[in-house]
Each structure stands twice: as structure tokens, then as C-alpha cells.
């Protein structure tokens, strides 16, 4: 495991830390994912995907706000990763965010686990 490196910690209320595990990379997000920041999240994750990290765990375990614009970014990342032969898995136990995923039926197309560790274990082990 390589040390976590913070990206743009103070920019626009959204920060993420990327760490690279054996079979997937984990992006831990804190802050607001909305129309303002969704594009930045998307480009960062797509950048990782372009660099070969096509298995990604997007961890929303911290203090996260998500709305439909944020969901749009998640969907487009998911699609790209799928095309590239990888997968996007969410780690989340925040009831508000989970409800949003259920409301929009995204829980049917994206795997969700309570923690990043569990997500790695269940989806990317071996």
C-alpha cells in the first residue's frame, strides 16, 4: 500500500485522497459533490482510469453531500470504468446518501458497501 496523497485539499469544498491497493484504487471524498464540483471529481477519477486504475472504490464514508448533479458524475464514471473493463464500487453508510441512491435506482447499477475495506474485500479480492 502506498501512502495516501491529498489532492487539492482546500479547493471548492470538495477534497479527495487517493490510495492504491492491490486490485483497485480507493478515492476517499469529503465535502459537497454538486454541479460545481462534479466535473472535478469526474476528471480526477477518469484521469486515474486513463492511467490504468480502472477498478475504483469511491468512498463517501466521510462528511459528504451529494445531489443529482453529483449522481450524474458517478454515473458517467461508472460507465467509463465499465467500458474500460473495470468497475466503480461505492463505499457508503450515510443514510441520506443511500436514500438518494435508492430513490434514483442507482443502487441497482452500482455495488454499494458500507466501508471501503468491505468494498475491496467483496468486489476486488484476489
Amino acid at each position: 500500500m502506498s501512502p495516501a496523497s491529498p489532492d487539492h485539499p482546500e479547493q471548492e469544498g470538495l477534497s479527495f485522497e487517493v490510495s492504491f491497493e492491490d486490485n483497485a484504487c480507493v478515492i476517499r471524498v469529503t465535502g459537497d459533490i454538486d454541479i460545481m464540483t462534479a466535473e472535478r471529481l469526474r476528471s480526477r477519477l477518469l484521469e486515474l482510469a486513463d492511467a490504468g486504475h480502472v477498478n475504483q472504490v469511491l468512498s463517501l464514508e466521510g462528511d459528504v453531500f451529494l445531489d443529482s448533479a453529483g449522481l450524474g458524475a458517478v454515473v458517467s464514471i461508472r460507465r467509463r470504468l465499465q467500458v474500460l473493463g473495470g468497475a466503480l464500487v461505492l463505499a457508503c453508510s450515510n443514510e441520506l446518501v443511500l436514500r438518494l441512491l435508492r430513490l434514483t435506482s442507482l443502487d441497482k447499477v452500482v455495488a454499494i458497501h458500507p466501508t471501503a475495506e468491505e468494498a475491496l474485500d467483496r468486489e476486488f479480492a484476489g
Binding site: 460545481m36 453531500f65 445531489d67 448533479a69 435506482s105
Partner: protein
């Protein structure tokens, strides 16, 4: 050794000769001819090498180099450097290279450095350079390390150009995805910010039409900085940047900017740029560029041709991105314009249809009167002419109604409700409506299929699909028949309607489902047709996620196929309900009836009225006995009623009396002229029987006019209908009788035959149509009053209603249907329901009136209806209203002044379309009184004086308890009233609501700003955190939606009433938001789905110059 060192040097080219000129005696190395062999051979090696090299020898590492090193690296330090101590030659980088030299000399091992950044002062400035080099120790004659040898390659050009290439490559990718010009420019700048080495700072400007330049993006410099002013005017005498030259497309380089501007940003370096390079952003096919870039150039690299090329390429990327974004903006505008055009077309269609209906109705009435007038009968020749008028007028009315349906197609998306349906069974129920028509035409109709299980459909849409296809098939088929099948096919349900008609030419097939397209030259039953039916089918199939197709052979027939997906995943989740539909086909078919009606008319040559299915009023099914000697009529009426009522039939009065003796009958419908026992005799005998006397009787007669009706009613008929009658009218009459019957059973157990009973019924019927104070409305205190007329035997047509529209807005309506009896009451009931429906659509009062006008023309073509509809807005404390011929409601202000809500249009039903919405302010303490004419009209008394009296009374009693006011007013003014009186007093209280207003700026950061402001405000209102989270999410969605889809300025309003918080976002776009169908992978379109799920209520309404989208959440 034969050659001296000096000779060797002399032969060593220019550098060798320059070395000869060095005063070697002043160096630790002394006379060259005395140098040790190892030094001499190394110097010779260095001089002759084409690789760039230098070496140092002796205690001070005295400096030697060759011609390649001189050219590539030393530049102006040559020949000064020759023979100097190395630490002096490279004093500026000694801290970097000193330790490396030390290591090489002390360990005897070579060093290797690749692309080491070194700042050299060889060109008159501190230059950023990159070198790949190796230091190797040199041994003296005695084998000890005496010197140092360096092979070096300068890689500055490669490093710098790679850096620039990477910037350019990414710039192309990033910039090209922007959707607006502003985004494109800012995205480009954002990217340039990632190369602060080459470009410490950048400012991007765009020209407007007058060549003024506006700052559109920056990198590394604050917008508004002295060097990056927000605007540079074309007429600025001393512009910060020479925009005149730039507007002409010229490139400009400006020196000495570090002296000109204070605090210039330095980018990756310690010192600011010294030069700015200004490049225009070329605009294709235009002399004036889009704008220009100001590039603060890295002062550690020369500003040379390669930099200009770099700048040019950046400008090219920016210009291309702006061109793309402009195209996208134009595309978006075009599609918005198309959407507006489409909307305008639909509106036009709706308006035209609506306007056509009025004169058509007015034309048909007299024509039909003329045909049925027995006192002044038409002679045969005239009759035929008028019949032609009436028949074709009715057809035209049918077409106009279809057009109206079609123009409403766009709103069908929102109105659809998909529910699981046994499609085979439902389809066969629908098809069965055609049976009699098909049989009469001597054709066969079969329904068959293999589909099992349930399919999600909107039942009224499906009815239209089936009936339109059947009607179409029937229209073109003269022999054989029509076969309907409903099959399962994998994951789809497939409806096929096959006919044995004339078929359709191949050339017609492609356009068959287009709007207004009509097949030419085909033999058909009717020349009617607007070319809408099949287009409607296609659109409705599309709403179900399905499609429609046709296969046809001329001379053999056609098969139309509608295929829709099974399951529900393809449907908008908010419009799917899971209860299995049980209502029969006819009830959901709605306007689809008119299709059937039209088809029937092809056989009859007469359309009659439109048969509109209406839901039964509930309760158990009543039994209706239909008595008529004409078999067709009997069948027609029983068919009409059979969906809602149990029906029995009798051939004449005698048979009817037999049936009445045998079993309980709730309602009798009887013809007048019949053999044996006719209608009047049947009625008379029933009235003599203690039990049968209470059974309501509706008489059907061909005798028009007041006389016939009076005769029937005198004989004791409960209602009287003139043939030909509209199906809808018969249904309405039966429904009212049924309802009266139900009320009677509950309320009038004891007294069946007296006037008192009827009074009770009237009272109850009226009250059942008036609202209970159903919804608690925080800020309004409402007291209502209704008293039937003294005559009491008949119901009146007065009504009032209070409708909570949500978002702190309340609709208040009062109206009067002139006339009495169940007819007026039934009309009133329908109009009241219509007001509710229009109010819930959040139409403005003026629009409500215009729509009501059409309804009144339908349900009471000869009636007079007056009405006032107002909407109270608790936030604005205003009342918007429109008044159609009704006595003016009186508004008493807290200070005791009074005003009247004046009439601005004639009574409803006259086809007037000019109703305006007026707005008055209603402060806390204001009191609005709405009333009907029974309160003020007195025979022999001037109405104006009565209104003045009412106004005085209201002012005088304005501080009385609201609940007592209606009684007080009634006593004061209407003690001896004979007419019925309806009265509503509404007083405005403070709702205790708190309001926050927040202007929303146009940039995307406004969404987060709004969320934070809402959260902070809600916390200060001590709203529970779970609710705050929901409201913050709603805020995010509504504001995002507004920024994405609607023009600004936007404003957010947050309102807190006792148990509810309402968020409203206003904008300046008239289009209403529409929930879109979203598949699992679409990137957007979820916003309103989320709003729908999280808010308790949400909606939108038009305002003067835009709309408000609101969502409410209970606390």
C-alpha cells in the same frame, strides 16, 4: 615526445589558440610545455572531441573546454573562463555542482545527472537551463586524482519544449469539451495554470461588438489586478494593453512589465515576468479576433520564435474551443427556439380549437332547434338543408375536439399513470364497444391472444390506441372483418389490429404516422379525418416506451402493430402505481368515446352529442329500468348505463309495471309514446302506489320545448329529457337521481312524500357540494354560510369553495349557476369540480375563467354562470383574481376603508376570452366577503343601494368574530330573502411565517451558497436536522435545475410556516419543468425525480415574467 604543448594548443583550433593566450604562469599549472603527460594528453583529447566537454586540473581545477562546450554552454563567458578556477567560472551554480565534483574526486567514481535544472548567467540574464552530465576523476602521472573531466549535453530545449507540448496536448482535450464560451475560456485558463513554469500568469480577454475587451479568464493572476483589468474600453486613451492593435489581429510583445506593474505574480519563479506576449484569438472568417491572451512570459527563458510559436498554438486551441462552444450555444439556442416554437404551435392549436368550438356550438344550437321545433316545422327541402348543416357542424366539432386532444399531447407525459393491467382482457373490453357498429355494418370483429400476466399501461392512453386503430380499420373495411390480437413476444406485449380493407400503398407507409398526414385516394366510409389518429397512436405508444408499425398490401388489408415493453423499468418511477386496475374499460376510456361516436356516425349519418364516460358517484350499483318500445333506443340506453348501473329493460309501461312489482328498482327511464301503457300512464300508476311513488322517473320524449317539459313534470316525473339527447346528459341526469336517492335513504327515512323531505334533500345536496372546512390554512380564517331559498323545494346553483394550492397559496371561489332544480345543481357540481381541477394546475385566475368558459358551454349551453376566482398568496399578502359577471366581493381593509373586486368579463359560457388577472394587496387584518345574489337582490330595491348597505355593514362589523359574521350579515340584509344565499367571509391573519429571500447568482457556486444559507437559516429556525438535510437537498436540486434550464435572474425564497417549510426558486423562463424518464445510466434528469420523492408536495406556477418552482416539506 617531439611536440611541445604550446604547439599542440596552437593546432587545437580556435579554443586551442585562445588557450595559448592564457597567462598560464599566473595559474597553479604553470608553463604548458612543463605540464605532466597525463594533463597534456587529456587536454588534447578534450580539444579534439566533438562532444561538449570541459575539464579542470590541479588544486583549483583550472578550467579547460572544447569548441562544442564553448558553443552550447559557455556563451558569453568565453574566453574569459579559460584558465580560471572552475568554482569561479561556475560560481552561480557551484552550490549545485560543487558537491558532485567533490564526490567524484574523493571517491574516484563518476557521477551522472540527467536534465539537472541549472540557472546560468551566460546570456546577460538568469537563464533556466537543463543539463545531462557526468563528472569523472582524472589521474595524474603518479596515479593520484589530479583533475576532473566532464562530458555534458545541454537538454534545455528538449525539457522546455516537452513541457510546452504537454500543456498544448492537454489544452486541446480540456478546452474542447466546454459548452459555453465563458466555460471554454476559463477551462483553458485553468489548464494553463498547471504550467506556471512556462507561463507564470495569463489573462484572457474577449472583444464585444465595439471592440471593448472584457476579462474572460485568468491563470495565476487575480482578476482585476492592474495587469488584468476586468474591462479595457476601446476608447480608453491609455489602455493597459494595446487593444487597438490586437483587434486588428496583430501580435504584440511588451517589455519591462515588471517595472510597470507592482506585485506582478511570479508563477513558478522568484521574480516576475519581464515580458508580456499578447496574441489574438483568431476568429474564422472574421477580421476581428474573438479576443486575445496576455501571456506573462517566463523571464528565465528567451522570448524567441519558439515561444511565439507556443503562444500561437495556445491561442489556436482557445479559438477552436470558443468556436466549438459558440456552435454549441447556438445549437442550444436553436433547440430552445424550436421547443418554444413547438410550444407556440401547440398553444395556437389549443387556442384555435377552443375558439372554433364556441361559434360551432352557437351554430349547431339553432340548427338543432330548427330541426326539432314542432311548432314551426321545416318543410322537407329546408329540413334536408338544415340536416346537412347540423351533421357537418357536428363532424367539425368532433374534429376540433380531436385537435384539442392532440394539442394537449405534450402534457400527456406528465399526466400519464401506468398501472398493471390485464391487457388482453382490457383490450377486448375496449373492442367490444365496437361490436354493435361492426355488426351493423355486416363485418366480423374478433379478439384473441396469448398474452398472460400484467402489462404496465396508462389505461386511458391504451384505450385511445385501441379505439383509434379499430376506428381506422373499420373506416377502410367494407367486407370481411377486423381481427384484434394481444400476444406476448419475449419481453414485449404486442397488439395487432388486422383488417381486410383496401390496404395502403407502399408510398404512403413511411408517412403514415406523421401528424396531419392522410392517406390519399383510399376508399373509406368517411371522408372525415384530421390525419391525427395514427400520429396520436404513435405518440401514445412512445409514451409507453413502445413503437407502432404497419404492414399492408393493396387489395388485401393492413395490420397495425403496437409493441410495448413488459415490466416497469422503462417508465418514470413517479408515474407508476402498483395497484392492479379494476375499473372497467368504459370508465377510463374518457374522450376515447368520441372516437367510437364518430365511427358510429359513419353508419348513422348523424353524430348526436358526444358520449363521454364519466365515473359513477360511488356507492352500490343502482338498478335502472329502461322502458322503450323501440329496440334500438332500448339497447342504446341500456348499453350506455350498463357500465355503472345494473340495467333491466321493458318494452312498454305494462311490462315495466310487472318488473316493478317483481323486484326493487331504483330509477326508471321511460319513453312517452308506447303501445298499451304509455309513459304518462306508467307514471300515474306508480304515483298511486305507496312504494313505487318514491322511485324517481326520468322521461324521454321527442317533444321539445317548455310545454312538453311542463307536462312531464306536472305528471310527477323527476326529470325530463328531450330526444335526441347527448349520452353525457342522460348519464348526468341518472347520476343526479341516483345521488338524490342515496341521500334520501339516509336523510329522509321518516318523511318521504312531503315538501320538508325535499327541503332536506336540497339542503343536503347543496351542502354535499359545498366544502367542509377541509384543509387547515394557517393564515386565513374562513366562515361560510349557506341557506337554501325559502321555497325550499328545489336546489339552487350557488356554491363556494376553498382550495389549498400549496406553497402558502389558497384558491377561493364563489359562483352562481342561474336557475334551480337538480339541473342547476348538477351543472354547479361539474363547474365546481372543473374549478378545482384548473386551480390545481396552478393556472392564473384569468386562465381559470377562460377554461371554465369552455366547460360552461359544454355542460350548460344555455345557462348563465357567474363566478369569482381568487388566489391568496400568503407570502406576498396579495389576492389575484378574475371576476366573470359575479357581484363584486368586498374587501374591507384594517383601517375601515372598503373596495370591491370588480367585474371584468361577462358571465361564463359566452366565449369571452379577455379575462384578466387583477391583483390587490390584502394586509393582515383585511377581510374579504364573497356572496351570491340572494344576499342583496330584492325585488323593487336598487341593487347599488343594497351593495352600499352591505359594504357599510361589513365596515361596521369588521372587528366582530369572523365565525359570527355570516349570521349577522344574513339577519341584517337578507332576513326575508327568498332566493338561496351563499356567503363566505375570509379574514387574513398573520401566519407567523418567516421568510428568507436570497438572490441566486448565475454561477455554479451559487448552488453551494444557497445550500449553506438555507441550512443556516433552518438551524436558526430550529428545524430538526433530518428535515434540514432534506431541505438542503431540495435546495440543491431546485437551484441546480434553475441554473441549468432557466434564464436568470433567479431568486430563492424560504418560508417557514407552522409545520412546513417551503422553498421557492423563481426564474425568467416560462417553460415548466418536466420530470424526465431516466434510465439507470443517464447522467442527468434525476433532479425532479429526487424532488418528487423528498418533498411532500411540489409544483410550479407561472408568474409575470417567468415561473416559480416550489417544494414543501413538513416538519
Amino acid at each position: 615526445m617531439t611536440t611541445s604543448m604550446r604547439e599542440t594548443l596552437a593546432a587545437g583550433g580556435q579554443v586551442g589558440r585562445d588557450l595559448l593566450d592564457v597567462d598560464w604562469l599566473a595559474t597553479p599549472l604553470g608553463e604548458p610545455d612543463d605540464w605532466p603527460a597525463s594533463l597534456r594528453s587529456t587536454v588534447q583529447l578534450v580539444l579534439s572531441s566533438k562532444f561538449s566537454m570541459w575539464m579542470g586540473w590541479g588544486p583549483e581545477l583550472t578550467f579547460f573546454c572544447n569548441d562544442a562546450y564553448r558553443r552550447d554552454t559557455l556563451a558569453s563567458k568565453y574566453p574569459w573562463a579559460l584558465g580560471r578556477p572552475a568554482h569561479e567560472v561556475w560560481s552561480e551554480i557551484w552550490p549545485d555542482i560543487g558537491p558532485r565534483i567533490e564526490r567524484a574526486m574523493s571517491t574516484g567514481e563518476s557521477t551522472w545527472d540527467e536534465a539537472l535544472q541549472l540557472f546560468l548567467e551566460r546570456s546577460g540574464y538568469v537563464e533556466e537551463t537543463y543539463h545531462t552530465f557526468s563528472y569523472s576523476p582524472l589521474s595524474g602521472d603518479d596515479g593520484t586524482v589530479q583533475g576532473l573531466f566532464c562530458v555534458v549535453a545541454e537538454v534545455t530545449e528538449q525539457v522546455v519544449s516537452e513541457r510546452r507540448m504537454s500543456t498544448l496536448r492537454d489544452l486541446g482535450i480540456r478546452v474542447s469539451t466546454a459548452e459555453t464560451v465563458a466555460d471554454a475560456v476559463q477551462a483553458g485558463c485553468d489548464h494553463l495554470a498547471s504550467n506556471p513554469e512556462s507561463l507564470p500568469w495569463v489573462a484572457a480577454y474577449l472583444f464585444d461588438a465595439d471592440h471593448n475587451a472584457t476579462l474572460a479568464g485568468t491563470a495565476g493572476i487575480e482578476p482585476g489586478h492592474q495587469a488584468a483589468p476586468l474591462r479595457i474600453g476601446a476608447d480608453d486613451p491609455e489602455p493597459v494593453w494595446p487593444i487597438g492593435e490586437l483587434a486588428r489581429g496583430e501580435h504584440v510583445t511588451i517589455d519591462g512589465i515588471d517595472r510597470r506593474f507592482d506585485d506582478l505574480p511570479t508563477g513558478a519563479w522568484a521574480v516576475p515576468p519581464e515580458k508580456a506576449v499578447l496574441v489574438p484569438l483568431p476568429r474564422p472568417l472574421h477580421a476581428t479576433p474573438y479576443g486575445f491572451l496576455v501571456l506573462g512570459a517566463n523571464r528565465h527563458r528567451p522570448v524567441d520564435q519558439t515561444f511565439f510559436d507556443f503562444a500561437e498554438l495556445i491561442a489556436g486551441h482557445f479559438a477552436a474551443a470558443i468556436t466549438d462552444a459558440t456552435a454549441m450555444e447556438q445549437e442550444k439556442e436553436r433547440s430552445e427556439a424550436l421547443a418554444r416554437l413547438d410550444q407556440a404551435k401547440s398553444d395556437f392549436l389549443a387556442n384555435v380549437s377552443h375558439e372554433l368550438r364556441t361559434p360551432l356550438t352557437l351554430l349547431l344550437g339553432p340548427a338543432e332547434d330548427a330541426l326539432t321545433d314542432e311548432r314551426h316545422p321545416l318543410d322537407d327541402a329546408q329540413r334536408k338543408r338544415v340536416e346537412v348543416i347540423a351533421r357537418n357542424g357536428n363532424r367539425m366539432l368532433g374534429l376540433v375536439n380531436t385537435l384539442l386532444d392532440f394539442s394537449r399531447l405534450d402534457t400527456l407525459h406528465d399526466e400519464s399513470t401506468f398501472q398493471p393491467t390485464d391487457l388482453l382482457r382490457y383490450t377486448s373490453e375496449l373492442a367490444s364497444m365496437f361490436e354493435s357498429a361492426v355488426e351493423r355494418a355486416g363485418l366480423r370483429l374478433t379478439v384473441d391472444g396469448t398474452l398472460e400476466g400484467e402489462v404496465y399501461v396508462d389505461r386511458s392512453h391504451w384505450a385511445k390506441i385501441v379505439l383509434n386503430l379499430l376506428s381506422n380499420a373499420f373506416k377502410f373495411t367494407f367486407d370481411g372483418g377486423v381481427a384484434v390480437t394481444v400476444d406476448g413476444d419475449g419481453d414485449r406485449a404486442v397488439l395487432r389490429v388486422t383488417d381486410t380493407g383496401g390496404g395502403i400503398a407502399d408510398s404512403e407507409l413511411p408517412r403514415l404516422f406523421e401528424r396531419f398526414h392522410r392517406v390519399r385516394g383510399a376508399r373509406s366510409r368517411s371522408i372525415e379525418g384530421s390525419g391525427i389518429g395514427l400520429a396520436l397512436v404513435a405518440q401514445l405508444a412512445d409514451l409507453h416506451g413502445g413503437e407502432v408499425s404497419v404492414a399492408s398490401r393493396v387489395g388485401e388489408g393492413s395490420t397495425f402493430t403496437v409493441s410495448i415493453p413488459l415490466g416497469r423499468d422503462h417508465l418514470p418511477p413517479g408515474q407508476v402505481v402498483d395497484e392492479v386496475a379494476r375499473t372497467p374499460a368504459a370508465e377510463t376510456a374518457g374522450r376515447a368515446w368520441s372516437i367510437l361516436e364518430e365511427t358510429l356516425s359513419w353508419l348513422d349519418g348523424d353524430t348526436g352529442g358526444s358520449r363521454q364516460a364519466e365515473p359513477a358517484t360511488g356507492g352500490e350499483r343502482a338498478t335502472v329500468l329502461v322502458v322503450d318500445d323501440n329496440e334500438d333506443m332500448r339497447t342504446y340506453v341500456t348499453d350506455l348505463l350498463s357500465d355503472r348501473y345494473r340495467t333491466l329493460a321493458a318494452h312498454d309501461g305494462a311490462e315495466a309495471l310487472q318488473v316493478l312489482q317483481d323486484q326493487p328498482i331504483d330509477i326508471v327511464i321511460t319513453d312517452v309514446m308506447m303501445p298499451r301503457v304509455d309513459g304518462f300512464e306508467l307514471l300515474a300508476r306508480m304515483k298511486q302506489d305507496a312504494v313505487l311513488a318514491a322511485v324517481p322517473v326520468i322521461m324521454l320524449s321527442a317533444r321539445a320545448g317548455e310545454d312538453g317539459m311542463a307536462e312531464g313534470l306536472e305528471a310527477g316525473a323527476d326529470d325530463y329529457l328531450v330526444k335526441p339527447f347527448a349520452a353525457r346528459e342522460l348519464l348526468a341526469r341518472v347520476r343526479v337521481q341516483h345521488r338524490l336517492l342515496q341521500l334520501q335513504r339516509v336523510a329522509a327515512e321518516a318523511d318521504r312524500r312531503t315538501v320538508a323531505r325535499e327541503l332536506a334533500i336540497a339542503d343536503e345536496l347543496q351542502h354535499s357540494l359545498l366544502p367542509d372546512v377541509e384543509e387547515r390554512i394557517e393564515s386565513l380564517e374562513i366562515a361560510t354560510f349557506y341557506r337554501p331559498g325559502v321555497e325550499g323545494t328545489q336546489v339552487g346553483g350557488d356554491w363556494y369553495d376553498v382550495i389549498n394550492l400549496g406553497g402558502g397559496r389558497i384558491g377561493i371561489v364563489i359562483g352562481d349557476v342561474m336557475g334551480r332544480g337538480v339541473r342547476a345543481a348538477s351543472v354547479m357540481g361539474q363547474i365546481k369540480a372543473a374549478v378545482r381541477a384548473f386551480a390545481r394546475l396552478d393556472l392564473t385566475p384569468g386562465e381559470v375563467m377562460e377554461n371554465l368558459d369552455g366547460i360552461v358551454q359544454d355542460v350548460a349551453p344555455y345557462g348563465i354562470v357567474t363566478c369569482v376566482y381568487g388566489v391568496y398568496d400568503d407570502t406576498e399578502r396579495t389576492l389575484s383574481y378574475a371576476n366573470a359577471g359575479h357581484l363584486p366581493p368586498i374587501l374591507v381593509h384594517p383601517n375601515g376603508t372598503a373596495s370591491r373586486l370588480l367585474i371584468d368579463g361577462p358571465p361564463l359560457g359566452s366565449g369571452y376570452l379577455g379575462f384578466e388577472t387583477r391583483k390587490v394587496s390584502v394586509p393582515v387584518g383585511a377581510m374579504l366577503t364573497l356572496y351570491t345574489d340572494g344576499l342583496v337582490e330584492r325585488r323593487g330595491t336598487d341593487l347599488g343601494r343594497r351593495l352600499d348597505e352591505l359594504e357599510l355593514a361589513l365596515v361596521e362589523h369588521r372587528d366582530d368574530a369572523v365565525a359570527e359574521l355570516p349570521d349577522t350579515l344574513f339577519e341584517l340584509l337578507a332576513g326575508e330573502a327568498t332566493d338561496d344565499v351563499a356567503l363566505a367571509v375570509v379574514k387574513v391573519h398573520s401566519s407567523g411565517s418567516a421568510v428568507m429571500r436570497l438572490p441566486v447568482s448565475g454561477d455554479l457556486g451559487a448552488v453551494a451558497t444557497a445550500r449553506r444559507a438555507v441550512a443556516a437559516q433552518l438551524r436558526s429556525w430550529e428545524v430538526p436536522s433530518r428535515v434540514v438535510a432534506d431541505l438542503v437537498l431540495l435546495t440543491s436540486e431546485l437551484v441546480t435545475n434553475a441554473l441549468r434550464h432557466a434564464r436568470g435572474p433567479h431568486e430563492l425564497r424560504l418560508r417557514h410556516v407552522e409545520r412546513e417549510v417551503v422553498i421557492e426558486v423563481s426564474d425568467s423562463s416560462p417553460m415548466r419543468p418536466r420530470r424526465r424518464q431516466v434510465d439507470g445510466d443517464a447522467e442527468s434528469g434525476r433532479g425532479l425525480t429526487i424532488v418528487d420523492a423528498v418533498a411532500d408536495r411540489w409544483g410550479s406556477r407561472s408568474i409575470a415574467d417567468g415561473k416559480v418552482v416550489w417544494a414543501a416539506r413538513r416538519i
